[in-house]
Amino acid sequence: MLYTVIDINTFYSEMEKDDLILSYKGDITQELLSAIYPIIETRLEKEVEDSKRRRKIFHVLVECLQNVYHHMESFKNNTSIEFEKVNVGGLFMMSRGEENSYRVFTGNFILNEKLEVLKQRIDKVNAMNAQELKAFYLGSLSTSELSDKGGAGLGIIDMARKSENKLEYQFHPLTDSYSFFTLAVKIN
């Protein structure tokens, strides 16, 4: 596997110390997501009493998974890369850690040309407080165009809003044209 990068392994073992709920490596399809959502929902209903918090966790999970899904779709549809050399797979993990916190970890390939925009967006969001995030969200909602490929960058803002935490990310350069992108979101 191309993405057995040390950082990811470190993260993986760290998450395994938590109570690992679900771990998946491979193609992330609509069918897979349809199967995952009810599993997680049932689990959260058992573990999280506060329905408000349960909704937040589920919401973050959905945005994270759809982010990977859209990245993978656009990566697979890009013809400039020789895919036979790449095992096009995504990573997804969800765990429960200390003080009943939840962590969602995702990983996906990304074209290097898209890397800077994504990095800037996450850094921008990470620097914002709750009020600024809300204003940024509403501004993006009312002005941005939505494509069938993705959500106009709203997902990143929403992950930060709902998790009330900074988004942790890394880019692992793999070739001149693409990298592996990992994102971790913690919900206290």
Partner: protein, 126 residues
Amino acid sequence: MAENLIIEGSGKTPTIKLLFETGSIEISGKSIPENSIGFYQPVYSWIDNYAAKPSAKTEIKIQLEYFNTSSSKCLLDIFRKFEAIKKTGKSEIEVLWHYEADDEDMMEAGDDYNSLVDLTFRLIKI
């Protein structure tokens, strides 16, 4: 001839009931599809047809448990279409935004849409 549009809900998509004669619009359940535009396309088309001969009163009932960010954009587009109908003066339009008593985020979302579009919103606690 305009027809009603009814779409049964699924694990990822809401139940949609668009009734032409009574001007009764309902979107309820979960809205977390990967391709929201594709899902809401028939709704857009229906509203475009409805705009030609809307009912004197239009009631839009929204009762969502969850919606993802791409659906949030589609909802705004739907409200904007109704805003355009309102501007023609052909229909009185009211949005009934339902939220669970403990779901402040959903209440806030209703409030946010209220601030973004020129439609009458009623926030209804369930």
